[in-house]
Structures are given as structure tokens and as C-alpha cells.
Amino acid sequence: MATVTFDHVWKKFGDVVAVNDLNLEIQDGEFMVLVGPSGCGKTTSLRMIAGLEEISDGSLRIGDRVVNNVPPKDRDIAMVFQSYALYPHMTVRDNLAFGLKLRKTPKADIDKRVQEAAAMLSLENLLNRKPRELSGGQRQRVALGRAIVREPAVFLMDEPLSNLDAKLRVQTRAEIARLHQRLKVTTVYVTHDQVEAMTMGQRIAVMSEARLQQVGTPQSLYDHPANRFVAGFIGSPSMNFMNVTASGTGDSVVLRNDAIEVTLPEPFRGRLPASGNVVLGIRPEHLAMSGASAAGTLKGGADVVEYLGNEELIHVNAAGQDIVAVIGSEHRIRPGDQLNLQVPLEKVHLFDPESGVSLSPMAGQAAG
């Protein structure tokens, strides 16, 4: 087992910067998720740990060893690929054993470890099959097994669930989490799916446009996003954003636009930009139905109602802006209804309109 440390790491493909000054320390035994939209540099970062991409600048350490120029085979890592990349001409047994054979592990030891991994992943009955005779889920398990038998210091997983159907994905998600609890091997897991990130990661590193945006536990990212990107990326449905203007002074500062009027929450006092323009963020699940058009509410007409069973996703047209609210389905809202939505002040996020940086004193506090 080992830590993985990015120290001012850059990756450039020609003039294109794929990873911009990445600093990240992954703890021993930690399950770290790298998440972000496609092209954000997360897979490139993972491949740099694997040794499959050269590092343009900075240094990368696995444990105490700088591995910038160490070939993949000497890094003591195992990787699960998005495409699985099983060796098509080998049986499942040989796929699992391949890495051990190349490392000249004694035959008896190989057999034992292959058996153990196969048992762990319920592959015992498939050992003599070729990959083409397996279902998608089975192939995925073989890919996991190939990493497990190696007993590496670090597991690297590149979107391992993206080719599975929805049901299998949820199952395998739990399976990987269970494997990690059992093996306690440092794991770096790349995904573009924030749900996967939130459910699996002990800590999550959010990346966008080649830069690390924020690192933290799922809770800290959800509660205290460092900037507008993280706020919008983490959580589903996404956070609502509205441009508002501050007016008044002292204790009675009010944030308003045509659809909303709320008092400035206490933690933000004295932190607003001089212009008074800020971006207000509120999560759909924090909006609640309110009877009257009182202060601290958001007014608008329901546009589209998406019924989900226990709750409804309501698209509200609030003075021309599309606001999403998650409301209990007992309210039976219909398109065209005029709504007043309660905005709980303690759940409000404020961001600088220019830089997108959070104005909250708590933002990014829990970052590690």
C-alpha cells in the first residue's frame, strides 16, 4: 500500500494543457475519486500514475519514490480499463494469471491467488472461458480480478462501470466499495458521474478544464463547494443559480431580483463584492413549498412537472430563469400553477459573478 502524491504536475499535449499544475495527495488506503466532465484531465492524471503518459513537469510520487521515469511494470500498480482490455486470446484464468506469470511468481502461488480472486468475484465457473464467451458484467469482473490478483500498492480504475447497464452498475458499485473495505488498498477511481463519485469516494477531487477545482469528502463538497463549477457539478439535479443584487447596509442587506427577495445570510456579511452583484445558488432539494408570497421566497410559474413517484421535479419559470425544485409529490402541482418556494437562508450559496469563487467563509475548508 502507498500514498500517491502529485506535486505541481503538468501534462501538455503539444500546446494543449491537459493537466494544469495538479497538487493532490492521496492517502494510504484511501478511495479517491477523480471526477469531472470529459476532457477535464482526470483520465490523463490517472494514466500518469499508471506510467502510460509522460509527465511534462512536476513530480509524481508513489509512496516516497518519485516515479516520473519509472515504467508501468515497475510501479506496483494495477489498472482497470474502461474498455476492460481483456486479452482476447486467453482464458479467464490466463487473463488473471498473466501479470503474475510475467513477474515470475511461483506456479503454486499463482494458482492460489487466481482461485482467491475468482472466489471473491464469483468467477470460479468461468475460469476456462474466453472473454468473448462472457457477458458484459462478467468481463467487468474479470478486469477487476486481473487487478486484484496482482496485490498492488495502488488500484487505478478508469470509469470501470460506464459500459454496464444501470442495474448492474449499482451492483458493481457496491461490489467495488466492498472490495476496497476488504483489501484496503489505495484506490484512484476516475468517473464523470457525480453519483458514482459521491457514493464511492472517501474523498473526491473535482477537476475541470485541466485544473483541480476542489478536494474533499462528499459531504464537504456538497455543503461547501469552493466555486460555482463544483456547486453545479456535485448534486443532482444541479444547483440553481440566479443573478441577484445586494441593497441596504448593515444587518438589513437584501438580495433581490425580479423573482426573489431574501435577506443576506449572516455568514456572508461584509464578504460581498463592491458592485453588489452576486450569484445566488440554491439546491433544488432545499426549495420547499410555501403558502404565502412572504419574504424569503422565490416566485414563479411551474413550466414542466416531472413525476418521479415519491417526489416531483418541477421546472419553474422565475422571471425568465429556469429554476428546478424537488417537491414532495403530494402537492400535486400542475404546469401553469403559480408557486411560492421557500428559500432556507442557511442553505443559500453565494458566488462572485466574475470568478465564480464561493463567498462563503466555509468554502473549501474541509479540503485536504
Binding site: R47, A50, G51, L52, P71, P72, K73, I77, A78, M79, F81, Q82, S83, Y84, A85, L86, Y87, P88, H89, F98, G99, L102, R103, K130, P131, R132, E133, L134, G136, R139, R146, R150, L156, N163
Partner: protein, 280 residues
């Protein structure tokens, strides 16, 4: 009844047309070969009088084959052909695969230009260089040597081999190579795996390479008449005034056998769906 039968067989007019063309082509391809084999078992006169007839009790003879047996050098010719073809095949596949691997899997300056340079060799017949190649062979002391022939054929076969193999090697997904490298593979392991996965391409290249070499008359004639291959040796049965047709046809028939065997061996490598299950 005829109608239902046709329906059951599902032969549409277009399919029938296609089959007519294919059957016609097969006939054109097979007929000369069949004629050679049939007539190699007939007496001299019936070969000319009834060339299309199968051998009967009266016309049947093994005279041609007996001539081959009596001419002590026939075995040597066959051996020369096997050595030259086998040696060339081995070198073309080995060197071609290695060059193709480098061109397909490594990123280096000028790899594209180098690939094109090698591809030019496909378009220029090596016989155009006969005079200078003979000079080189002479300088190396390789005239009248099987090794000289092997080198010439290897040079002639490499461009196509590199071209075809590099196209196939590029098709092997990068993830497989990455997975192998993470698993501990070095360049040789990766090379072995990719060659293994591109086996159908190797088989195709092998067939394309061996047939012209086996059949070639030119290079044995100009560069190594002292160590005749089967094709060159058989020419001795063809004289200006008298030709021993029995022996010529028998020699040609025997010459087909090794090629047929190799063809069957390589053809079995065309397994479909070799990459099945690697990805997704």
C-alpha cells in the same frame, strides 16, 4: 413442387446471378489445374488427342512420375524450392512484423515518411533492379547460392508485408497494450501479443508471399541456375525439339502439393472474431 423447393432453398435471382459468376470464375481458376493433374496420368498421345478426357485403363500411365523418380535431381530441386520459399517466408514474416510493429505502435519522428518509403516498394517490381542486384550478389559471393535467392525474395516481399501488417497492428486496441504494460509486459511481450492477435494478417501475408516465390522462374534463372528450384528444374523437360510432357505435367502436379498444404495450414488461421471479448 419446383416452386416450393425453390422457396425453401431461398434462391433469389440476384443470388443465382452471383453464384453463376462465382461458379464460372471457379471453373476458370480450377480448369487448368485440373487439366494438368488429369493429363499427368495419361500416355503421351492421349494428352494431345483427348486432352479433356479422364485417364482410362488404356491411357493411364505413371511414366511422368517415373521420369521424375529416375532423374536424381528432382529431389534436390524440390529441396531447393522448399528452402528458398521457407527461408524467404520466415524472414519476410519476422522482419516485416517487427518493422510493422515499430511503425504502428511507436510514435517517432518520420514514422509516416518511413512507412510511405517502404510502401513504394510495393509498386516497383524488383526485377527492374536485376542488373544491379546481380552485381551486389556477385560482390557478396552469393550467386548460385540459395541464400542469395532468399535475400532477394525477402527484399521483394517486405514492402507488402510491412504495409499490410502495420495496418492490422494499428487495429489492435491501445488499451490492450496498456493493460499488458501495467501487468508487467516489456516491448517483446507486447510484440508477441500483437502478432498473436494479428494472426489472420500474418497468414494472409504468408500466402501472398510464398506463392510468387515458389512459382518464380526469373531469379533462379539469372541468379542461381546452379542450384535450380523446382520451377527452373522442370524447364529441363521442355526442349526446343522434344518436350517430355508427361514429366513436365508430373513435376507441376508434385509442385502444387507443398503449396496446397501450406495454404490449408495458413487458411485455418483466418479465424473470425479473434478480437472478440477484448473490449466492452
Amino acid at each position: 413442387m419446383a416452386g416450393t423447393r425453390q422457396d425453401r432453398l431461398g434462391i433469389s435471382p440476384t443470388a443465382a446471378g452471383k453464384h453463376a459468376i462465382l461458379i464460372g470464375y471457379s471453373f476458370i481458376a480450377i480448369a487448368p489445374v485440373a487439366l494438368i493433374i488429369i493429363n499427368s496420368f495419361k500416355e503421351r498421345m492421349p494428352i494431345f488427342k483427348q486432352p479433356l478426357d479422364l485417364p482410362t485403363a488404356e491411357t493411364f500411365t505413371l511414366a511422368g512420375y517415373e521420369t521424375l523418380g529416375k532423374r536424381g535431381d528432382f529431389g534436390a530441386w524440390l529441396g531447393n524450392s522448399v528452402l528458398v520459399t521457407g527461408g524467404s517466408l520466415l524472414l519476410v514474416l519476422l522482419l516485416g512484423a517487427m518493422a510493422a510493429f515499430a511503425l504502428a505502435r511507436y510514435r517517432f519522428m518520420g514514422s509516416r515518411v518511413l512507412g510511405l518509403y517502404l510502401a513504394i516498394g510495393i509498386m516497383i517490381p524488383i526485377r527492374l533492379g536485376t542488373v544491379s542486384l546481380l552485381g551486389i550478389l556477385q560482390g557478396l559471393g552469393l550467386t548460385n547460392q540459395l541464400a542469395g535467392l532468399v535475400l532477394v525474395y525477402t527484399a521483394a516481399g517486405l514492402p507488402l508485408a510491412v504495409f499490410v501488417l502495420s495496418a492490422f497492428f494499428r487495429e489492435v486496441p491501445r488499451d490492450l497494450e496498456d493493460a499488458a504494460r501495467v501487468d508487467g509486459a516489456n516491448d517483446w511481450h507486447v510484440f508477441a501479443m500483437i502478432v498473436r492477435l494479428a494472426r489472420p494478417a500474418l497468414a494472409a501475408v504468408a500466402i501472398l508471399t510464398m506463392i510468387p516465390v515458389w512459382n518464380d522462374l526469373w531469379w533462379p534463372l539469372v541468379a542461381a541456375p546452379g542450384v535450380p528450384t523446382l520451377t527452373l528444374g522442370s524447364q529441363q523437360f521442355l526442349g526446343q525439339f522434344v518436350s517430355d510432357w508427361n514429366a513436365v505435367l508430373a513435376a507441376l502436379t508434385v509442385a502444387m502439393i507443398p503449396m496446397l498444404v501450406l495454404y490449408v495450414v495458413f487458411n485455418r488461421q483466418f479465424v473470425r472474431g479473434l478480437m472478440g471479448g477484448a473490449l466492452k
